[in-house]
Amino acid sequence: MTDVVQAPIPMPRMAWLARLKGAPVIPLVILGTVVFCAVAGGLVAPFDPNDADLDAAFQPPFWAKEGSWSHPLGTDNLGRDILSRIIAGCRVSVIVSLYAIAFSGAIGALVGMISGYFGGRVDQVIMRLVEIQMSIPSIALALLLAAALQPGLGTVVVVIVFTYWTWYARIIRGEVLSLKTRDYVAFARVAGVSTPVILLRHLLPNIMNTLLVLATLQVGQVIIFEASLSFLGLGIQQPDVSWGLMLSDARQYISNAWWAITMPGIAIMLTCLAANLFGDWLRDRLDPRLRQM
């Protein structure tokens, strides 16, 4: 009998999108382009990234005197199109970022929550582990791991996760230390809610913002880390394409082709800059206390 007027229910997805209002546009466009190239790079790239054409070797970018629009950013020593290789390199950057951040964030958050929530002995042991981990320089640890494992995408992810979980663990621990004194946690405990449920249902949603901000700020560091390892020859291997690997190739003929060593670096720089600027915006919006980081 009741005549309920259905109010239009706002789409949750739209609500999420609305939160992006005011986000810096240029960084979002750059990040969007990188992700698009990672997903559909093969469709937009003018050439196959590994297509060698020795007749076209060492062509400068289009604005130089001998440059042409057929290879807008020039070609490398084997005549491979640099623009196509940069587009192809997006894939490695995005894949490594996704896996590395997901795993280091998940491990770090879990360890940090346990450490902060239980305190006492557990906390001491975990924090000591974090300290030990941080006493080994990250690139040195990476070299050690790369020497013991086979170099490749998987090893790069393992190395980055190994290096960065401590970062999440320390910050999340601090966050949980203050959250666990709140009344709602005490109520949940008195009501007999089990510890895993308290951690996942009551604490996790409250550290989600922090996690999101940390993850965004980590993107740039992951991309640089991957590039560094690949540059040393301990990361991504041919025929996969990575920006760091391109720089490593281009270093051999630095005096012949300035563009080959400049362009991939600019790709790295723009992507990291965009990720950092977006991360800064997100931090100011979601979790301004992290500004000290």
Binding site: R128, L129, E131, I132, Q133, S135, I136, P137, I139, A140, L141, L143, L144, L145, A146, A147, A148, L149, G220, I224, A227, S228, F231, L232, G233, L234, G244, L247, R251, I254, S255, W258, I261, T262, G265, I268, M269, L270, C272, L273, N276, L277
Partner: protein
């Protein structure tokens, strides 16, 4: 005070011990460590002899015990590539690495201090904005690419500076900039926020009211206090440069520990990799220890935490 120093030193020792355990375990990750310790073409009898000599037929914790007791006496094994004790090789390369780290630290401080002070004094002005842009770029550029760009411009382009090797002071300039570039942003922020705090304080207002010349006020009265946080952090940056110089050393063919470790990784010269990595960790922990202790001297409240 002595209890504080001892406690911190104890923590440091535990960290180094832990690091050695991590290094030991990683070296066992690939399965049979003999394959890492011997050249790939070693005869089977030599491999068997090595296995017994190193006690690799015994349980893992015994092996770690052997590793750590040998390491304590400075025995990290022999580099098969150079036929020398691995530790000697690392120590031979130490001066070059320290030289580069000192130069890089000097560079970063000499850029960060003026920028930090000026951006605090003229808050919101063009120096402040320039500093912010530099900081953003610094965080977004890999140091090895900065190094390559420096080589491209100053060595290949203008031919002003050498791009490779160690020699006179001119050899130091490019690698020091490449290595010192990254921490400029963080150091500048420390100086800037320190200066902003101090410039607001009563003693500065009072001396300004008394007519002290602005230059004296900023650079002597204010900066001396604002520099304390930076000074105490210098040890951390120095440690980071000692441990982070791997790629910069490779690019500039700088004969330091980092480059040696990278070469050893490719030669599968595992004793040298182990010695180099553990040595970097020890340097890192010791620098941090010195920072902690100097904090304790400057600020007694920290001793009781």
């Amino acid at each position: 005070m002595w209890r504080f120093v001892l406690r911190r030193a104890g923590n440091g020792a535990v960290s180094i011990l832990g690091a050695s355990l991590v290094i030991f375990m990683v070296s066992r990750l690939s399965g049979d460590p003999i394959t890492l310790m011997m050249p790939p073409d070693a005869p089977p009898q030599a491999i068997e002899a090595m296995r017994v000599a190193l006690g690799l037929d015994r349980p893992l914790w015994t092996q770690y015990w052997i590793f750590i007791t040998n390491a304590l006496t400075g025995d990290f094994g022999t580099s098969y590539r150079w036929q020398q004790p691995a530790l000697n090789l690392v120590l031979d390369r130490l001066p070059a690495t320290v030289e580069l780290a000192v130069a890089a630290l000097l560079f970063s401080v000499s850029v960060a201090v003026p920028l930090g002070v000026l951006s605090a004094v003229y808050r919101g002005g063009w120096v402040d904005r320039l500093g912010r842009i530099l900081a953003m770029l610094g965080q977004a550029m890999p140091n090895f690419w900065v190094g390559l760009m420096l080589i491209l411009v100053f060595a290949v382009g203008f031919g002003w500076l050498p791009a490779f090797g160690r020699g006179g002071p001119e050899h130091l300039i490019l690698p020091a900039i490449a290595l010192g570039w990254y921490p400029v942003a963080a150091q500048m922020r420390i100086v800037r926020s320190g200066m902003l705090d101090v410039l607001e304080s009563d003693y500065i207002r009072l001396s300004r009211a008394l007519g002290t010349p602005e230059r004296l006020l900023v650079w002597k009265y204010a900066f001396r206090n604002a520099a304390v946080p930076l000074l105490t952090m210098l040890g951390v940056y120095f440690a980071a440069m000692l441990g982070g110089a791997f790629i910069v050393e490779v690019i500039f063919a700088w004969p330091g520990i980092g480059r040696m470790v990278v070469e050893a990784v490719f030669a599968r010269d595992f004793p040298v990799v182990q010695a180099g990595v553990l040595f970097s960790s020890i340097l890192f922990v010791m620098s941090n220890l010195l920072v902690d202790i100097s904090y304790g001297i400057v600020d007694p409240r920290i001793r009781n935490d």
